[in-house]
Protein backbone atom coordinates (compact mmCIF):
# COMPACT_ATOMS: atom_id res chain seq x y z
CA UNK A 1 0.00 0.00 0.00
CA UNK A 2 1.36 3.44 -0.89
CA UNK A 3 2.36 5.86 1.84
CA UNK A 4 -0.48 8.22 0.93
CA UNK A 5 -3.08 5.46 1.22
CA UNK A 6 -1.66 4.44 4.57
CA UNK A 7 -1.85 8.02 5.84
CA UNK A 8 -5.46 8.38 4.70
CA UNK A 9 -6.45 5.17 6.43
CA UNK A 10 -4.64 6.21 9.58
CA UNK A 11 -6.47 9.53 9.59
CA UNK A 12 -9.80 7.77 9.07
CA UNK A 13 -9.10 5.31 11.86
CA UNK A 14 -8.18 8.11 14.25
CA UNK A 15 -11.36 10.02 13.41
CA UNK A 16 -13.60 7.00 13.87
CA UNK A 17 -11.94 6.10 17.14
CA UNK A 18 -12.25 9.63 18.46
CA UNK A 19 -15.92 9.86 17.57
CA UNK A 20 -16.62 6.46 19.03
CA UNK A 21 -15.05 7.38 22.34
CA UNK A 22 -16.87 10.68 22.37
CA UNK A 23 -20.15 8.91 21.72
CA UNK A 24 -19.57 6.39 24.50
CA UNK A 25 -19.00 8.98 27.14
CA UNK A 26 -22.14 11.01 26.51
CA UNK A 27 -25.19 10.55 28.72
CA UNK A 28 -28.73 11.72 28.13
CA UNK A 29 -29.06 14.00 31.06
CA UNK A 30 -30.56 17.33 30.03
CA UNK A 31 -32.72 18.25 32.97
CA UNK A 32 -34.11 21.76 32.97
CA UNK A 33 -33.92 23.63 36.19
CA UNK A 34 -37.37 24.55 37.50
CA UNK A 35 -35.81 27.12 39.82
CA UNK A 36 -35.07 29.39 36.87
CA UNK A 37 -37.80 31.56 35.43
CA UNK A 38 -38.43 29.37 32.38
CA UNK A 39 -40.92 26.53 32.40
CA UNK A 40 -40.57 24.28 29.36
CA UNK A 41 -43.52 22.21 28.24
CA UNK A 42 -44.27 20.11 25.20
CA UNK A 43 -46.65 17.42 24.05
CA UNK A 44 -50.24 17.08 23.06
CA UNK A 45 -51.41 18.60 19.83
CA UNK A 46 -54.98 18.54 21.17
CA UNK A 47 -53.88 20.80 24.01
CA UNK A 48 -51.42 22.97 22.13
CA UNK A 49 -53.74 25.93 21.54
CA UNK A 50 -54.96 25.72 25.11
CA UNK A 51 -51.41 25.53 26.43
CA UNK A 52 -50.41 28.57 24.39
CA UNK A 53 -53.35 30.58 25.71
CA UNK A 54 -52.40 29.60 29.26
CA UNK A 55 -48.81 30.61 28.62
CA UNK A 56 -49.85 34.00 27.27
CA UNK A 57 -52.24 34.72 30.17
CA UNK A 58 -49.71 33.59 32.73
CA UNK A 59 -47.20 36.01 31.24
CA UNK A 60 -49.54 38.79 32.39
CA UNK A 61 -49.94 37.31 35.87
CA UNK A 62 -46.24 36.59 36.42
CA UNK A 63 -44.10 38.61 33.97
CA UNK A 64 -40.93 37.16 35.46
CA UNK A 65 -41.80 33.60 34.45
CA UNK A 66 -41.98 32.53 30.83
CA UNK A 67 -43.67 29.31 29.78
CA UNK A 68 -42.42 27.66 26.59
CA UNK A 69 -44.94 25.56 24.72
CA UNK A 70 -43.92 22.88 22.25
CA UNK A 71 -46.09 20.43 20.36
CA UNK A 72 -45.40 17.18 18.61
CA UNK A 73 -48.09 15.00 20.13
CA UNK A 74 -48.59 13.42 23.55
CA UNK A 75 -46.01 10.76 22.71
CA UNK A 76 -43.35 13.39 22.06
CA UNK A 77 -44.20 15.22 25.32
CA UNK A 78 -44.01 12.04 27.35
CA UNK A 79 -40.76 11.08 25.70
CA UNK A 80 -39.29 14.51 26.45
CA UNK A 81 -40.33 14.14 30.08
CA UNK A 82 -38.81 10.65 30.12
CA UNK A 83 -35.48 12.09 29.07
CA UNK A 84 -35.72 15.04 31.41
CA UNK A 85 -35.86 17.67 28.66
CA UNK A 86 -39.07 19.39 29.77
CA UNK A 87 -40.63 20.35 33.09
CA UNK A 88 -44.22 19.58 32.15
CA UNK A 89 -45.57 17.17 29.54
CA UNK A 90 -49.02 17.95 28.13
CA UNK A 91 -50.82 14.74 27.24
CA UNK A 92 -54.29 13.77 26.14
CA UNK A 93 -53.66 10.22 27.32
CA UNK A 94 -52.33 8.50 30.41
CA UNK A 95 -48.75 7.40 30.76
CA UNK A 96 -48.23 3.69 30.35
CA UNK A 97 -46.64 1.75 33.20
CA UNK A 98 -43.59 1.05 31.06
CA UNK A 99 -43.23 4.79 30.39
CA UNK A 100 -43.48 5.57 34.11
CA UNK A 101 -40.80 3.01 34.86
CA UNK A 102 -38.52 4.36 32.17
CA UNK A 103 -38.97 7.91 33.48
CA UNK A 104 -38.01 6.83 36.94
CA UNK A 105 -35.05 4.89 35.61
CA UNK A 106 -33.78 7.78 33.49
CA UNK A 107 -34.41 10.77 35.75
CA UNK A 108 -34.73 9.24 39.20
CA UNK A 109 -38.15 10.83 39.72
CA UNK A 110 -41.57 9.28 39.21
CA UNK A 111 -44.01 11.22 37.02
CA UNK A 112 -47.01 12.81 38.75
CA UNK A 113 -50.28 13.20 36.92
CA UNK A 114 -52.51 16.30 37.02
CA UNK A 115 -55.92 16.50 35.37
CA UNK A 116 -56.28 20.01 33.96
CA UNK A 117 -59.41 19.71 31.83
CA UNK A 118 -61.67 17.40 29.93
CA UNK A 119 -62.13 16.92 26.23
CA UNK A 120 -64.63 15.01 24.19
CA UNK A 121 -63.27 12.99 21.31
CA UNK A 122 -65.62 13.80 18.46
CA UNK A 123 -66.19 11.82 15.29
CA UNK A 124 -66.43 14.08 12.28
CA UNK A 125 -67.93 13.61 8.82
CA UNK A 126 -68.44 15.99 5.93
CA UNK A 127 -71.43 18.28 6.40
CA UNK A 128 -73.18 16.75 3.35
CA UNK A 129 -72.78 13.19 4.56
CA UNK A 130 -76.23 11.83 5.48
CA UNK A 131 -75.01 9.64 8.38
CA UNK A 132 -76.30 10.77 11.77
CA UNK A 133 -75.30 8.27 14.43
CA UNK A 134 -72.94 5.38 15.03
CA UNK A 135 -72.41 2.87 17.81
CA UNK A 136 -69.00 2.30 19.34
CA UNK A 137 -68.97 -1.16 17.81
CA UNK A 138 -69.63 0.22 14.33
CA UNK A 139 -66.74 2.66 14.81
CA UNK A 140 -64.52 -0.24 15.78
CA UNK A 141 -65.56 -2.20 12.70
CA UNK A 142 -64.72 0.77 10.51
CA UNK A 143 -61.30 1.58 12.01
CA UNK A 144 -59.87 -1.60 13.50
CA UNK A 145 -57.70 -4.22 11.89
CA UNK A 146 -59.97 -7.01 10.77
CA UNK A 147 -63.02 -4.75 10.89
CA UNK A 148 -65.71 -5.53 8.34
CA UNK A 149 -67.21 -2.16 7.48
CA UNK A 150 -65.42 -0.59 4.50
CA UNK A 151 -68.19 1.04 2.49
CA UNK A 152 -70.82 3.64 3.29
CA UNK A 153 -73.52 1.42 1.77
CA UNK A 154 -72.88 -1.10 4.55
CA UNK A 155 -74.07 1.58 6.96
CA UNK A 156 -77.18 2.17 4.87
CA UNK A 157 -76.04 5.56 3.67
CA UNK A 158 -75.44 6.93 0.18
CA UNK A 159 -72.60 9.41 -0.03
CA UNK A 160 -71.95 11.46 -3.17
CA UNK A 161 -68.87 10.24 -5.02
CA UNK A 162 -67.11 6.97 -4.24
CA UNK A 163 -68.73 4.51 -1.83
CA UNK A 164 -65.46 3.80 -0.07
CA UNK A 165 -65.07 5.00 3.52
CA UNK A 166 -62.00 7.26 3.67
CA UNK A 167 -60.60 6.84 7.18
CA UNK A 168 -58.74 9.84 8.57
CA UNK A 169 -56.63 9.07 11.59
CA UNK A 170 -53.62 10.46 13.46
CA UNK A 171 -49.97 9.47 13.49
CA UNK A 172 -48.87 7.20 16.27
CA UNK A 173 -47.25 9.96 18.34
CA UNK A 174 -50.71 11.33 19.07
CA UNK A 175 -52.52 10.93 22.39
CA UNK A 176 -55.79 11.17 20.48
CA UNK A 177 -54.71 8.14 18.42
CA UNK A 178 -53.83 6.32 21.61
CA UNK A 179 -57.11 7.15 23.34
CA UNK A 180 -59.17 6.10 20.31
CA UNK A 181 -57.27 2.83 20.02
CA UNK A 182 -57.72 2.06 23.70
CA UNK A 183 -61.35 3.09 24.15
CA UNK A 184 -62.94 2.37 20.78
CA UNK A 185 -60.78 -0.39 19.29
CA UNK A 186 -60.15 -2.15 22.61
CA UNK A 187 -56.38 -1.90 22.03
CA UNK A 188 -56.58 -3.71 18.72
CA UNK A 189 -54.52 -2.13 15.96
CA UNK A 190 -55.84 0.25 13.33
CA UNK A 191 -56.64 -1.02 9.85
CA UNK A 192 -53.87 -0.19 7.39
CA UNK A 193 -54.65 2.40 4.76
CA UNK A 194 -56.02 5.21 6.93
CA UNK A 195 -54.69 8.69 6.18
CA UNK A 196 -52.49 9.49 9.16
CA UNK A 197 -52.47 13.24 9.77
CA UNK A 198 -50.04 15.03 12.03
CA UNK A 199 -52.45 17.34 13.88
CA UNK A 200 -56.02 17.61 15.19
CA UNK A 201 -56.73 20.51 12.87
CA UNK A 202 -55.44 18.58 9.82
CA UNK A 203 -57.95 15.79 10.46
CA UNK A 204 -60.90 18.19 10.40
CA UNK A 205 -59.50 19.98 7.35
CA UNK A 206 -59.20 16.77 5.37
CA UNK A 207 -62.68 15.63 6.38
CA UNK A 208 -64.12 18.99 5.36
CA UNK A 209 -62.70 18.55 1.86
CA UNK A 210 -63.50 14.89 1.31
CA UNK A 211 -67.13 13.90 1.05
CA UNK A 212 -66.54 10.24 1.94
CA UNK A 213 -64.28 10.83 4.91
CA UNK A 214 -64.71 10.01 8.58
CA UNK A 215 -62.20 11.11 11.20
CA UNK A 216 -61.76 11.68 14.93
CA UNK A 217 -60.40 14.75 16.67
CA UNK A 218 -60.95 16.98 19.69
CA UNK A 219 -64.36 18.62 19.98
CA UNK A 220 -62.79 22.07 20.02
CA UNK A 221 -61.70 21.75 16.38
CA UNK A 222 -65.11 21.75 14.75
CA UNK A 223 -65.66 24.01 11.75
CA UNK A 224 -68.79 24.74 9.74
CA UNK A 225 -67.71 22.39 6.96
CA UNK A 226 -68.00 19.27 9.11
CA UNK A 227 -70.58 17.85 11.43
CA UNK A 228 -70.49 15.71 14.57
CA UNK A 229 -71.61 12.12 14.45
CA UNK A 230 -73.81 11.26 17.42
CA UNK A 231 -72.32 8.39 19.40
CA UNK A 232 -74.18 5.73 21.32
CA UNK A 233 -72.74 2.88 23.31
CA UNK A 234 -74.83 0.17 21.65
CA UNK A 235 -77.88 -0.25 19.44
CA UNK A 236 -80.92 1.08 21.21
CA UNK A 237 -79.06 3.45 23.54
CA UNK A 238 -79.57 7.18 23.45
CA UNK A 239 -77.16 9.01 21.23
CA UNK A 240 -75.18 11.96 22.44
CA UNK A 241 -73.40 14.87 20.82
CA UNK A 242 -70.00 15.87 22.18
CA UNK A 243 -71.08 18.98 24.06
CA UNK A 244 -70.01 20.51 27.35
CA UNK A 245 -73.18 19.40 29.12
CA UNK A 246 -72.97 15.80 27.90
CA UNK A 247 -69.36 15.49 29.01
CA UNK A 248 -69.98 17.01 32.43
CA UNK A 249 -73.01 14.80 32.98
CA UNK A 250 -71.01 11.74 31.98
CA UNK A 251 -73.30 10.84 29.05
CA UNK A 252 -70.84 11.10 26.20
CA UNK A 253 -68.87 7.87 25.92
CA UNK A 254 -65.66 9.30 24.48
CA UNK A 255 -64.86 11.93 27.07
CA UNK A 256 -61.26 11.97 28.16
CA UNK A 257 -59.19 13.87 30.71
CA UNK A 258 -56.41 16.20 29.62
CA UNK A 259 -53.29 15.69 31.65
CA UNK A 260 -50.14 17.50 32.64
CA UNK A 261 -47.29 15.32 33.90
CA UNK A 262 -44.44 16.61 36.06
CA UNK A 263 -41.27 14.97 37.34
CA UNK A 264 -42.00 14.22 40.96
CA UNK A 265 -44.02 16.64 43.10
CA UNK A 266 -43.57 20.09 41.55
CA UNK A 267 -42.06 22.96 43.50
CA UNK A 268 -41.38 26.63 43.02
CA UNK A 269 -42.40 28.17 39.69
CA UNK A 270 -43.77 24.91 38.25
CA UNK A 271 -46.06 24.41 41.25
CA UNK A 272 -47.34 27.97 41.07
CA UNK A 273 -48.04 27.58 37.36
CA UNK A 274 -49.96 24.34 37.92
CA UNK A 275 -51.95 25.92 40.75
CA UNK A 276 -52.84 28.83 38.47
CA UNK A 277 -53.90 26.46 35.67
CA UNK A 278 -56.22 24.67 38.08
CA UNK A 279 -57.60 27.94 39.48
CA UNK A 280 -60.72 29.71 38.27
CA UNK A 281 -58.68 31.93 35.95
CA UNK A 282 -56.97 28.99 34.25
CA UNK A 283 -60.15 26.97 34.00
CA UNK A 284 -62.03 29.87 32.45
CA UNK A 285 -59.51 29.72 29.60
CA UNK A 286 -60.24 25.98 29.28
CA UNK A 287 -63.93 26.78 28.83
CA UNK A 288 -63.25 29.59 26.34
CA UNK A 289 -61.09 27.26 24.24
CA UNK A 290 -63.98 24.84 23.80
CA UNK A 291 -62.94 22.24 26.37
CA UNK A 292 -64.53 21.21 29.65
CA UNK A 293 -63.17 22.67 32.89
CA UNK A 294 -62.27 20.49 35.86
CA UNK A 295 -64.15 20.12 39.07
CA UNK A 296 -67.69 20.84 38.04
Amino acid sequence: MSTYCRKVLLGLAVMVLALGLAGCGKKDNGGSDSGKAVISTSGSDTMVNLAQMWAEEYQKVRPDVSVEVGGGGSGVGIRDLMQGIVDIANASREMKDSERQQTEKNTGKAPVEWVVGYDALAVYVHKNNPIEELTLDQLAQIFAEGGTITKWSQLGVKVGGSDEIVRVSRQNSSGTYFFFREHVLGNKDFKLGSKDMSGSKDVVELVSRTIGAIGYSGMGYKTDEVKFVKIKKAEGDTTYLPTLENVVAGHYSLARPLYMFTLGEPSGDVKEYLDWVLSDQGQKIVKDSGYVPVGK
Binding site: S162, D189, S194
Partner: protein, 340 residues
Protein backbone atom coordinates in the same frame (compact mmCIF):
# COMPACT_ATOMS: atom_id res chain seq x y z
CA UNK B 1 46.58 49.30 17.96
CA UNK B 2 43.49 50.75 16.24
CA UNK B 3 43.68 48.88 12.91
CA UNK B 4 43.94 45.48 14.56
CA UNK B 5 41.10 46.35 16.88
CA UNK B 6 38.96 47.58 14.04
CA UNK B 7 39.73 44.50 11.99
CA UNK B 8 38.93 42.32 14.94
CA UNK B 9 35.80 44.41 15.49
CA UNK B 10 34.97 44.19 11.85
CA UNK B 11 35.44 40.45 11.81
CA UNK B 12 33.30 40.11 14.89
CA UNK B 13 30.67 42.38 13.43
CA UNK B 14 30.82 40.54 10.12
CA UNK B 15 30.48 37.13 11.72
CA UNK B 16 27.69 38.45 13.88
CA UNK B 17 25.95 39.88 10.85
CA UNK B 18 26.56 36.72 8.84
CA UNK B 19 25.29 34.46 11.62
CA UNK B 20 22.17 36.55 12.16
CA UNK B 21 21.55 36.59 8.43
CA UNK B 22 22.10 32.87 8.30
CA UNK B 23 19.81 32.45 11.27
CA UNK B 24 17.13 34.57 9.60
CA UNK B 25 17.59 32.65 6.40
CA UNK B 26 17.09 29.39 8.21
CA UNK B 27 14.00 30.68 9.92
CA UNK B 28 12.58 31.80 6.62
CA UNK B 29 13.32 28.43 5.04
CA UNK B 30 11.76 26.55 7.92
CA UNK B 31 8.72 28.82 7.84
CA UNK B 32 8.22 28.38 4.12
CA UNK B 33 8.65 24.62 4.37
CA UNK B 34 6.25 24.28 7.29
CA UNK B 35 3.56 26.55 5.85
CA UNK B 36 3.69 24.65 2.58
CA UNK B 37 3.31 21.34 4.36
CA UNK B 38 0.50 22.62 6.58
CA UNK B 39 -1.48 24.07 3.70
CA UNK B 40 -1.01 20.97 1.57
CA UNK B 41 -2.05 18.90 4.57
CA UNK B 42 -5.21 20.97 5.06
CA UNK B 43 -6.13 20.61 1.41
CA UNK B 44 -5.66 16.85 1.63
CA UNK B 45 -7.80 16.84 4.76
CA UNK B 46 -10.57 18.76 3.01
CA UNK B 47 -10.51 16.28 0.16
CA UNK B 48 -10.56 13.25 2.41
CA UNK B 49 -13.17 14.76 4.74
CA UNK B 50 -15.98 13.80 2.40
CA UNK B 51 -15.07 10.14 2.83
CA UNK B 52 -14.68 10.63 6.57
CA UNK B 53 -18.12 12.28 6.90
CA UNK B 54 -19.85 9.54 4.97
CA UNK B 55 -18.21 6.89 7.13
CA UNK B 56 -19.07 8.77 10.31
CA UNK B 57 -22.72 9.12 9.31
CA UNK B 58 -22.90 5.47 8.37
CA UNK B 59 -21.26 4.48 11.65
CA UNK B 60 -23.71 6.63 13.66
CA UNK B 61 -26.80 5.31 11.91
CA UNK B 62 -25.55 1.74 12.20
CA UNK B 63 -24.69 2.11 15.87
CA UNK B 64 -28.18 3.39 16.72
CA UNK B 65 -29.95 0.71 14.74
CA UNK B 66 -27.66 -2.19 15.65
CA UNK B 67 -29.58 -3.56 18.70
CA UNK B 68 -32.69 -3.96 16.56
CA UNK B 69 -30.74 -5.86 13.93
CA UNK B 70 -29.19 -8.07 16.56
CA UNK B 71 -32.22 -8.85 18.73
CA UNK B 72 -35.44 -8.51 16.87
CA UNK B 73 -34.71 -8.58 13.17
CA UNK B 74 -36.70 -10.99 11.05
CA UNK B 75 -35.54 -10.36 7.48
CA UNK B 76 -38.55 -11.81 5.71
CA UNK B 77 -40.98 -10.08 8.04
CA UNK B 78 -39.18 -6.75 7.76
CA UNK B 79 -38.97 -6.57 3.98
CA UNK B 80 -41.99 -8.54 2.91
CA UNK B 81 -44.68 -7.53 5.38
CA UNK B 82 -46.73 -4.39 4.94
CA UNK B 83 -47.77 -4.30 8.59
CA UNK B 84 -45.99 -1.44 10.30
CA UNK B 85 -47.23 -1.33 13.90
CA UNK B 86 -44.27 -0.25 16.02
CA UNK B 87 -46.35 1.14 18.89
CA UNK B 88 -48.96 -1.58 19.13
CA UNK B 89 -50.13 -2.68 22.55
CA UNK B 90 -50.79 -6.24 21.50
CA UNK B 91 -48.65 -7.13 18.53
CA UNK B 92 -45.65 -5.06 17.51
CA UNK B 93 -44.76 -5.56 13.91
CA UNK B 94 -42.07 -3.90 11.80
CA UNK B 95 -42.83 -4.52 8.16
CA UNK B 96 -41.70 -1.93 5.62
CA UNK B 97 -43.07 -3.38 2.37
CA UNK B 98 -45.74 -0.69 2.16
CA UNK B 99 -43.15 2.02 2.83
CA UNK B 100 -40.86 0.63 0.12
CA UNK B 101 -43.83 0.54 -2.25
CA UNK B 102 -44.62 4.14 -1.34
CA UNK B 103 -41.10 5.39 -2.02
CA UNK B 104 -40.90 3.33 -5.20
CA UNK B 105 -44.19 4.47 -6.70
CA UNK B 106 -43.67 8.14 -5.88
CA UNK B 107 -40.18 8.00 -7.43
CA UNK B 108 -41.53 6.22 -10.50
CA UNK B 109 -44.26 8.77 -11.14
CA UNK B 110 -41.81 11.60 -10.37
CA UNK B 111 -39.40 10.31 -13.02
CA UNK B 112 -42.20 9.80 -15.55
CA UNK B 113 -43.05 13.47 -15.04
CA UNK B 114 -39.52 14.85 -14.73
CA UNK B 115 -37.52 13.04 -17.39
CA UNK B 116 -39.46 14.15 -20.49
CA UNK B 117 -39.73 17.68 -19.12
CA UNK B 118 -36.08 18.04 -18.19
CA UNK B 119 -34.58 16.33 -21.22
CA UNK B 120 -36.78 18.45 -23.42
CA UNK B 121 -35.74 21.57 -21.54
CA UNK B 122 -32.06 20.62 -21.73
CA UNK B 123 -32.28 20.03 -25.48
CA UNK B 124 -34.19 23.29 -25.90
CA UNK B 125 -31.69 25.32 -23.88
CA UNK B 126 -28.64 23.94 -25.61
CA UNK B 127 -29.89 23.57 -29.19
CA UNK B 128 -32.93 25.63 -29.98
CA UNK B 129 -32.46 28.71 -27.84
CA UNK B 130 -31.09 32.11 -28.67
CA UNK B 131 -28.29 33.37 -26.44
CA UNK B 132 -30.41 35.84 -24.45
CA UNK B 133 -33.21 33.32 -23.99
CA UNK B 134 -30.67 30.76 -22.78
CA UNK B 135 -29.50 33.04 -19.96
CA UNK B 136 -33.08 33.73 -18.90
CA UNK B 137 -34.01 30.05 -19.00
CA UNK B 138 -31.01 29.08 -16.90
CA UNK B 139 -31.92 31.66 -14.26
CA UNK B 140 -35.52 30.48 -14.18
CA UNK B 141 -34.51 26.84 -13.81
CA UNK B 142 -32.25 27.75 -10.93
CA UNK B 143 -35.12 29.66 -9.35
CA UNK B 144 -37.15 26.45 -9.49
CA UNK B 145 -34.36 24.74 -7.57
CA UNK B 146 -34.36 27.45 -4.92
CA UNK B 147 -37.95 26.83 -3.82
CA UNK B 148 -37.85 25.15 -0.39
CA UNK B 149 -39.33 21.68 -0.27
CA UNK B 150 -41.89 22.62 2.37
CA UNK B 151 -43.28 25.24 -0.04
CA UNK B 152 -43.58 22.53 -2.67
CA UNK B 153 -45.44 20.43 -0.10
CA UNK B 154 -47.76 23.32 0.54
CA UNK B 155 -48.46 23.71 -3.18
CA UNK B 156 -49.24 20.01 -3.37
CA UNK B 157 -51.51 20.16 -0.33
CA UNK B 158 -53.44 23.32 -1.18
CA UNK B 159 -53.32 23.65 -4.98
CA UNK B 160 -52.83 20.22 -6.55
CA UNK B 161 -55.20 18.51 -4.10
CA UNK B 162 -58.47 20.11 -5.30
CA UNK B 163 -57.25 20.07 -8.92
CA UNK B 164 -56.70 16.33 -8.82
CA UNK B 165 -60.04 15.73 -7.13
CA UNK B 166 -61.83 17.77 -9.77
CA UNK B 167 -60.00 16.25 -12.75
CA UNK B 168 -60.08 12.61 -11.71
CA UNK B 169 -62.95 12.30 -9.25
CA UNK B 170 -60.72 10.57 -6.72
CA UNK B 171 -62.02 10.51 -3.13
CA UNK B 172 -58.96 12.37 -1.97
CA UNK B 173 -56.35 14.42 -3.78
CA UNK B 174 -53.37 13.47 -1.61
CA UNK B 175 -51.97 10.45 -3.38
CA UNK B 176 -49.16 9.01 -5.45
CA UNK B 177 -50.06 11.23 -8.41
CA UNK B 178 -49.91 14.41 -6.36
CA UNK B 179 -46.61 13.60 -4.68
CA UNK B 180 -45.19 12.26 -7.93
CA UNK B 181 -45.90 15.48 -9.81
CA UNK B 182 -44.51 17.66 -7.03
CA UNK B 183 -41.33 15.61 -6.53
CA UNK B 184 -40.89 15.40 -10.31
CA UNK B 185 -41.00 19.19 -10.57
CA UNK B 186 -38.47 19.39 -7.73
CA UNK B 187 -36.07 17.08 -9.56
CA UNK B 188 -36.30 18.96 -12.86
CA UNK B 189 -33.61 21.61 -12.13
CA UNK B 190 -31.01 18.97 -11.19
CA UNK B 191 -31.64 16.85 -14.25
CA UNK B 192 -31.71 19.88 -16.57
CA UNK B 193 -28.39 21.27 -15.32
CA UNK B 194 -26.47 18.05 -15.72
CA UNK B 195 -28.18 16.95 -18.93
CA UNK B 196 -27.50 20.32 -20.47
CA UNK B 197 -23.80 20.01 -19.60
CA UNK B 198 -23.76 16.54 -21.09
CA UNK B 199 -25.36 17.75 -24.31
CA UNK B 200 -22.99 20.64 -24.63
CA UNK B 201 -20.04 18.29 -24.17
CA UNK B 202 -20.88 16.55 -27.44
CA UNK B 203 -18.08 17.53 -29.85
CA UNK B 204 -19.03 20.19 -32.38
CA UNK B 205 -17.54 17.95 -35.07
CA UNK B 206 -20.43 15.49 -34.66
CA UNK B 207 -23.03 18.23 -35.12
CA UNK B 208 -21.24 19.77 -38.06
CA UNK B 209 -20.91 16.40 -39.71
CA UNK B 210 -24.63 15.79 -39.29
CA UNK B 211 -25.48 19.17 -40.78
CA UNK B 212 -23.12 18.50 -43.68
CA UNK B 213 -25.01 15.28 -44.37
CA UNK B 214 -28.24 17.27 -44.63
CA UNK B 215 -29.89 16.34 -41.31
CA UNK B 216 -32.61 18.61 -39.95
CA UNK B 217 -32.17 20.03 -36.44
CA UNK B 218 -34.46 17.53 -34.82
CA UNK B 219 -32.74 14.66 -36.66
CA UNK B 220 -29.40 15.92 -35.41
CA UNK B 221 -30.68 15.98 -31.85
CA UNK B 222 -32.40 12.63 -32.01
CA UNK B 223 -29.85 10.60 -33.96
CA UNK B 224 -26.54 12.24 -33.10
CA UNK B 225 -26.57 14.32 -29.92
CA UNK B 226 -28.72 12.20 -27.61
CA UNK B 227 -26.87 8.93 -28.33
CA UNK B 228 -23.53 10.71 -27.95
CA UNK B 229 -24.53 12.23 -24.61
CA UNK B 230 -26.09 8.96 -23.37
CA UNK B 231 -23.89 8.43 -20.31
CA UNK B 232 -24.23 12.02 -19.12
CA UNK B 233 -27.99 11.95 -19.55
CA UNK B 234 -28.22 8.71 -17.63
CA UNK B 235 -26.13 10.19 -14.83
CA UNK B 236 -28.50 13.18 -14.75
CA UNK B 237 -31.60 11.01 -14.51
CA UNK B 238 -30.12 8.82 -11.77
CA UNK B 239 -29.19 11.92 -9.80
CA UNK B 240 -32.81 12.98 -10.11
CA UNK B 241 -33.88 9.56 -8.86
CA UNK B 242 -31.60 9.92 -5.84
CA UNK B 243 -33.19 13.30 -5.11
CA UNK B 244 -36.68 11.87 -5.39
CA UNK B 245 -35.95 8.93 -3.09
CA UNK B 246 -34.54 11.20 -0.38
CA UNK B 247 -37.29 13.84 -0.44
CA UNK B 248 -39.03 14.12 2.90
CA UNK B 249 -41.06 17.26 3.51
CA UNK B 250 -42.99 17.42 0.26
CA UNK B 251 -43.97 13.76 0.39
CA UNK B 252 -44.95 14.06 4.04
CA UNK B 253 -47.56 16.63 3.06
CA UNK B 254 -48.69 15.31 -0.31
CA UNK B 255 -48.91 11.54 -0.14
CA UNK B 256 -51.76 11.35 2.37
CA UNK B 257 -49.42 9.45 4.70
CA UNK B 258 -51.22 6.15 4.60
CA UNK B 259 -49.80 2.64 4.91
CA UNK B 260 -51.05 1.18 1.68
CA UNK B 261 -49.66 -0.69 -1.31
CA UNK B 262 -51.23 0.90 -4.41
CA UNK B 263 -51.20 -2.29 -6.49
CA UNK B 264 -54.29 -4.39 -6.88
CA UNK B 265 -55.80 -7.36 -8.61
CA UNK B 266 -58.27 -5.30 -10.59
CA UNK B 267 -57.54 -2.71 -13.29
CA UNK B 268 -55.91 -0.32 -13.64
CA UNK B 269 -53.58 -2.48 -11.45
CA UNK B 270 -51.46 0.49 -10.45
CA UNK B 271 -53.69 2.86 -8.52
CA UNK B 272 -51.99 6.24 -8.69
CA UNK B 273 -54.95 7.83 -6.96
CA UNK B 274 -54.38 6.03 -3.67
CA UNK B 275 -52.50 7.47 -0.70
CA UNK B 276 -49.18 5.95 0.31
CA UNK B 277 -46.42 6.55 2.83
CA UNK B 278 -42.71 6.78 2.09
CA UNK B 279 -39.67 5.64 4.08
CA UNK B 280 -38.51 9.23 4.59
CA UNK B 281 -41.89 10.50 5.80
CA UNK B 282 -42.16 7.64 8.30
CA UNK B 283 -38.83 8.55 9.86
CA UNK B 284 -39.75 12.23 9.96
CA UNK B 285 -43.16 11.63 11.50
CA UNK B 286 -42.25 9.03 14.08
CA UNK B 287 -38.73 9.94 15.25
CA UNK B 288 -40.02 12.59 17.66
CA UNK B 289 -42.05 10.08 19.60
CA UNK B 290 -39.67 7.16 19.70
CA UNK B 291 -37.68 7.25 22.94
CA UNK B 292 -33.99 6.47 22.92
CA UNK B 293 -33.76 3.96 25.75
CA UNK B 294 -30.65 2.43 27.22
CA UNK B 295 -30.08 -1.29 27.54
CA UNK B 296 -31.23 -3.28 30.55
CA UNK B 297 -28.69 -4.71 32.94
CA UNK B 298 -28.40 -7.93 30.96
CA UNK B 299 -27.69 -6.18 27.65
CA UNK B 300 -31.11 -6.65 26.10
CA UNK B 301 -33.34 -3.73 25.27
CA UNK B 302 -36.91 -3.10 26.45
CA UNK B 303 -39.48 -3.59 23.73
CA UNK B 304 -40.25 0.15 23.55
CA UNK B 305 -36.68 0.87 22.50
CA UNK B 306 -37.12 -1.02 19.25
CA UNK B 307 -39.22 1.69 17.61
CA UNK B 308 -36.32 4.17 17.68
CA UNK B 309 -33.87 1.53 16.50
CA UNK B 310 -36.19 0.26 13.77
CA UNK B 311 -36.43 3.80 12.39
CA UNK B 312 -32.65 3.87 12.14
CA UNK B 313 -32.73 0.58 10.30
CA UNK B 314 -35.17 2.22 7.87
CA UNK B 315 -32.49 4.90 7.47
CA UNK B 316 -29.95 2.20 6.65
CA UNK B 317 -32.34 0.84 4.03
CA UNK B 318 -32.57 4.32 2.46
CA UNK B 319 -28.76 4.52 2.47
CA UNK B 320 -28.59 1.15 0.77
CA UNK B 321 -31.14 2.12 -1.88
CA UNK B 322 -29.25 5.29 -2.80
CA UNK B 323 -25.98 3.37 -2.76
CA UNK B 324 -27.35 0.73 -5.13
CA UNK B 325 -28.66 3.43 -7.49
CA UNK B 326 -25.23 5.09 -7.58
CA UNK B 327 -23.37 1.84 -8.13
CA UNK B 328 -25.78 0.85 -10.92
CA UNK B 329 -25.29 4.20 -12.57
CA UNK B 330 -21.52 3.84 -12.33
CA UNK B 331 -21.58 0.38 -13.87
CA UNK B 332 -23.92 1.42 -16.69
CA UNK B 333 -21.85 4.49 -17.50
CA UNK B 334 -18.69 2.37 -17.55
CA UNK B 335 -20.45 -0.14 -19.76
CA UNK B 336 -21.49 2.56 -22.20
CA UNK B 337 -17.97 3.94 -22.29
CA UNK B 338 -16.56 0.52 -23.02
CA UNK B 339 -18.87 0.19 -26.00
CA UNK B 340 -17.40 3.34 -27.45
Amino acid sequence: MPPTESVADDTKALTAARSSAAWQGTIRKVYRYLSERIIVGLIHLAGVSAIIFVFCIFYFVFREGWPFLRDSFDVKGFFLSEEWYPTSEVNRRYGILALLAGTGTVTLVAMLVAVPFSLGTAVFISQFCGKKAREVMKILIELLAAIPSVVWGFIGLMVMNPVIVKLTGAPIGLNVLNAGIIVGLMSVPIIVTIAEDAIRAVPDGFIEAAEALGATRWQTVYKVILPAAKSGLLAAVLLGVGRAVGETMAVLMCTGHSINIPFDGHPPYFHVLESVRTLTATIAAEMGEAPRLGANADGTYPVEAFHYQALFVVGIVLFAVTFIINVTEDLIVKGIRKEK
